[in-house]
Symmetry: C2
């Protein structure tokens, strides 16, 4: 293998596949990045066996030569060193050449690195996925849907299925649901190209977080191919594979109340900041709980009390309070997470009693919903 | 105590005194910030008993009212909570009022915090320092002198005196020296107001690092008052006290070689980047050692070799190589620290043999010097 490549393109591509590489792996070769050079260009692969990322650097793009391959071939190089080296090379171009015994030379200007490589034949094969029947979602919408749900997955391995996000495709609509059994986040969107198939899969939260990081901010479509145990996201020059979680995701539709006994309409930012302030003292306590009470004239009161430190109380003017009076306690963190995930300057909060889950939604938008279980304190 | 204060001024001042506060203290009241309000304004104090910082917020500045004190008095509030609270208050002004039993109310807009305070009478007194005989150093020069020396202090408590920087005043000149016994950094500057006294003190490296963080970047003079066991730095509205280290600092003047057997003249940035690249593979090894060899035609070679990973070799074109041929090994980290501390685009490196300390200096500038002990590998 021998090629000369634009350093910036290589740095970008190495950065992308590095997202899948971990030093905590039981398969030593997975601490490396696989590099394959052929007539079309150079392909890099990183994997931790749950997530695999393949990034392709074409020979040329928009008339600019990016790679010149003079000898086809492949190598696996230690990801940690290779990624540091390419970032610090002195010149705009890099020559990479595999010599005898997998010894690999990286040259740039007057700097020359010799790295001990590994045999690319020993690198695990990526899942083989039939590429028909792809769903298409614009990149920016996909990133938004991930951001609005993935924070609510469980971080505990007690119920592994809850560490993933439940993706359902039905009637031309994609819905993403995450819950850690204390709160739930849901986001729906219509698919542009419904292929008539139904899907119900659970994608590890970590996979979605990493995917979100390497996708550019644009509206180009990402193709999504779902199989029994894998999902493949295809973007420009990028393949992102994730295994799926096995098991049945709980039916969450029954959790979401349809009725409402108290409805608040609030300015999102003002409410978020008041919760943030109230939580300053509550964080020290066991569970970061704040209280919300309706008082007269559309005012609500946010408060918390940690006897050894002090207490905080703040009135927030709502746009409207409809229905019954209410006193309720909840996790300030869950509320802040939910409010940050919502778009829109105003929200509805619908309560059905102090001990029942409540729902937060933007005004005039049914595509997103956040649900929080209260905490028993009153 | 009761006053209304501009939030921004309070946030700035709290941020400054927080630099001295640590949660790891055996004196519980030192986890707090002392607040004293009187006819002149408000004074905040933070301390970990090694470092004490006092920040004064005047009643008014440049015609703008900053504080309105309606009742003189004082309180000590938990630093961790107080600093978080003031940052997140909703309005531009804050009212702080001590009520019964040290209960303190912090009000801003519709938000109201109640914090349990402590008695300011129980807060330790700051050192009393006679303010005559102050040295004066411009703030920016002081910060530069700290930056150029403090990184070389020892981080090990084996010889506690080496965790400080040796400040000597003699013949109208201030010299700062730090060494961890493997390398040494020295910086000198002429004092504008020599008071004829001589000093030889050791200031804890940590104190100087914190001092540097809270000083603004300007050329206003900082007054420095030195006593037997304390040093006081006075800047605008700010007092910074540090205890001194006890014991005799080693005489470092004999360490610095006067002769030179090989002298290199190099472009600082190019040399630094080559060392950085060579160290990428060396970091994994025990001691991050790189080798430097002179070769023909003013070329030098930087290299490192970690057999299990690989090796790197790079040629650097020097401006000149004078004297004997040389092969020498040294810590890449120490060399990079030294090069970053130097100003100027070109440097001299003076060697007196592969096993003797060598000296790095900017061209045409004797006020700063970095010395490194080589590592035996050849």
């Amino acid at each position: 293998m021998k090629f000369v490549i634009q350093r910036d393109a290589l740095v970008q591509s190495v950065g992308d596949v590095m997202k899948a590489v971990t030093s905590r792996t039981t398969i030593p070769i997975l601490t490396g990045i696989k590099i394959i050079a052929n007539d079309e260009g150079v392909t890099l692969t990183g994997s931790d066996s749950d997530i695999s990322i393949e990034s392709f650097i074409p020979k040329e793009e928009e008339g600019n030569e990016i790679v010149e391959v003079t000898e086809n071939g492949g190598i696996v190089l230690q990801a940690k060193f290779f990624s540091e080296i390419v970032k610090k090379l002195p010149m705009d171009t890099v020559e990479i050449e595999v010599q005898n015994h997998l010894q690999t030379v990286i040259r740039s200007g007057k700097a020359e690195f010799n790295l001990n490589g590994l045999d690319p034949e020993e690198y695990p094969h990526l899942p083989q996925i039939e590429e028909g029947n792809a769903l298409k979602v614009p990149t920016d919408l996909l990133k938004t849907m991930i951001r609005q749900t993935v924070f609510a997955v469980s971080t505990s391995e007690t119920r592994p299925i809850l560490t993933g996000v439940n993706w359902k495709v039905e009637d031309g609509e994609l819905s993403c649901i995450a819950t850690d059994s204390h709160r739930l986040a849901m986001r729906k969107a219509a698919l542009e190209n419904d292929n008539g198939k139904e899907y119900n899969i659970v994608i590890p939260g970590k996979s979605l977080t990493e995917l979100s990081k390497i996708l550019d901010d644009n509206s180009d479509p990402v193709e999504i191919v779902i199989t029994d145990n894998q999902v493949l996201f295809k973007a420009k020059h990028l393949l992102f594979f994730s295994r799926l979680l096995e098991g049945n995701y709980p039916d969450t539709s029954r959790l979401i109340p349809n009725e409402s006994k108290t409805e608040l309409t609030l300015a999102t930012k003002e409410f978020l900041q008041a919760i943030d302030r109230a939580s300053l003292l509550a964080r020290e306590g066991r569970n970061n709980v704040v209280k919300l009470s309706t008082i007269d004239n559309g005012l609500i009161e946010i408060s918390s009390n940690t006897p050894e430190i002090g207490k905080v109380i703040e009135q927030v003017q709502s746009q409207s309070v409809d229905g019954e009076e209410l006193k309720i306690s909840f996790s300030a963190k869950y509320m802040m997470d939910a409010l940050k995930a919502l778009e829109g300057t105003e929200i509805h909060v619908n309560f059905t009693g102090a001990m029942r889950p409540f729902v937060i939604k933007p005004l005039h938008d049914d595509s997103i919903l956040q649900l929080i279980l209260p905490v028993r304190t009153y």
